[in-house]
């Protein structure tokens, strides 16, 4: 997939005080883009604006294709099984019968969910299984752009590894253009091709770093340096 899949231009957003100021960035086709920044700087708001769940006060967002989003808190309906949760979007788009069953089964197994996982209600499933179900719920609609909000937060090492493997498999197979917002650099940086480093609130893009060709140690070093630089500049570090 070539070309720019998602472009954020000069976005400004305020909730009683400015949260995002003049933020511009883009996501190329087939790329995994990371967004990092200090806690509470506005990363999630930016992701929600990218998804179209929030409108910018100024600026614009251009999307070249369907967007799927996975929220940090899973947000699965507790009264439905994981299967029913994964199938939700398909039902809303009028897809039923064999096509629905096939898609739910295919995308669930793609993220590593078994039939017995899918028969569980969210309260009975582990954190990792719930996160995978939330990912499958977004993937069954076959989006061209995937947005992940803190996908590794709250998961144990085993669940994080398993989710990372599932994501790697999806990217290798489908080259899905993805934006990941995360403060867990050790989890994010091995996956990302590029990162944008945001300043503390109100968030601006402080730096854009191309990570391709760097080993993990170098990636960590470069992003940590950038974060330290912006924190010391803003006086919060």
């Amino acid at each position: 997939m070539a070309g720019v899949m998602l472009e954020v231009s000069s976005v400004y957003k305020s909730f009683s005080e400015p949260v995002l100021v003049d933020v511009s960035l883009h996501l190329n086709g087939g790329e995994v883009l990371g967004i990092v920044g200090p806690n509470g700087c506005g990363k999630t708001t930016l992701l929600r604006i990218m998804a179209g769940l929030e409108s910018p006060d100024k600026g614009s967002v251009r999307r070249e294709g369907k967007v799927g989003i996975v929220f940090q808190e899973d947000r699965l309906l507790p009264w439905k099984t994981l299967w029913e949760n994964v199938a939700l979007g398909l039902k809303y788009h009028g897809i039923r019968g064999e096509e629905l069953t096939k898609r739910v089964r295919d995308y669930s197994s793609m993220v590593g969910l078994t039939d017995s996982d899918l028969s569980l209600h969210p309260r009975k499933a582990s954190g990792g299984t719930r996160r995978k179900a939330a990912l499958a719920r977004a993937l069954v609609l076959e989006p061209e752009i995937l947005l992940l909000d803190e996908p590794f937060t709250g998961l144990d090492v085993k669940a994080r590894t398993s989710l990372r493997e599932a994501l790697n498999w999806i990217w290798d197979e489908y080259g899905l253009s993805t934006v990941i917002v995360s403060h867990q650099l050790e989890e994010l940086l091995p996956l990302a091709d590029r990162v944008y480093v945001l300043t503390p609130k109100p968030a601006r893009v402080a730096e854009e770093i191309d990570l391709r060709g760097m080993d993990l140690e170098r990636r960590l070093e470069r992003v940590k340096e950038a974060l330290l630089r912006i924190l010391s500049r803003s006086g919060t570090g």
Partner: protein, 256 residues
């Protein structure tokens, strides 16, 4: 839980149960004291009266009262669901529902009974049902409107992000989210419905526990009044403890 914590919790439970037994003994003591003045029959006399009643005599009256209460409550529940759903979308209906609740809430069961009996006639089966509907409506409507606005905005956003339409949001998130609150409201509402239906039956009905209470009163049969009152208390408590409370508990687990 630690051992100390478990003991404290057990002590709390024992004290709570003792409080419940004390309340029953307190009511019984008041009754015995009142009967000592000779103005009321005592518990032994009333229980003897109760035991002398034939099941074929009691069952139709209990069923009639249950029918009036459940039908009236169902009407108010249905009206509340429709108004609650529309209030969720239309400010005009929200204002209408609020004002209707206030008016109905300020009107006593006695007034409703008299007006409906005068309008529909003593022999009509409708007044007890409509009185129950009118009296329970404000409580059920208020609970329904608040239950329908209690849905988690995060879940609403999640279903919206996968293409849910407003009707999907209502049936998939808003309605299921409100189940525990609706169950609690139904528990209170049905209890109220039973107590209200006997008032309405006393004024305009040819049957039911309320009718039997007023009939015994008109015949100066004090033991009959108290015996039928005990039937009503048993009915309210039985329905609450054996049916409504377990259902409410089950509904609470729905969202976990």
């Amino acid at each position: 839980m630690t051992r100390g914590g478990k003991e404290a919790s057990r002590g709390h439970e024992i004290a709570f149960r003792a409080g419940r037994i004390l309340a029953s003994l307190f009511v019984l003591a008041i009754w015995i004291s009142a009967s000592a003045t000779g103005m009321l029959p005592g518990p032994v006399e009333v229980v003897a009266y109760l035991l002398s009643m034939e099941p074929e005599e009691v069952a139709p009256q209990v069923l009639k009262t249950l029918y009036n209460s459940i039908t009236g409550f169902s009407l108010s529940f249905l009206a509340s669901m429709v108004l609650g759903l529309l209030s969720h979308r239309l400010p005009l209906i929200k204002g209408f529902s609020e004002a209707l609740s206030e008016i109905f809430n300020s009107t006593s069961a006695l007034v409703w009974s008299l007006v409906l009996v005068a309008t529909l006639g003593v022999l009509s089966p409708l007044p007890p049902i409509l009185v129950v509907a009118a009296v329970t409506l404000p409580h059920v409507l208020t609970a329904t409107v608040s239950a329908l606005s209690s849905a988690d905005p995060g879940l609403l956003e999640a279903v919206r992000s996968v293409g849910a339409k407003p009707s999907d949001e209502f049936f998939e998130v808003i309605l299921p989210s409100s189940v525990p609150l609706l169950a609690s409201a139904s528990r209170v509402g049905l209890g109220t419905a039973l107590r209200i239906s006997v008032v309405a039956e006393a004024f305009g009905s040819s049957g039911g526990v309320g009718y039997m209470i007023i009939r015994s009163y008109n015949l100066a049969d004090a033991s009959g009044v108290l015996a039928w009152s005990l039937v009503l208390i048993a009915l309210v408590l039985g329905l609450d403890q054996l049916v409504l409370k377990p259902l409410e508990r089950r509904a609470r687990r729905w969202l976990e």
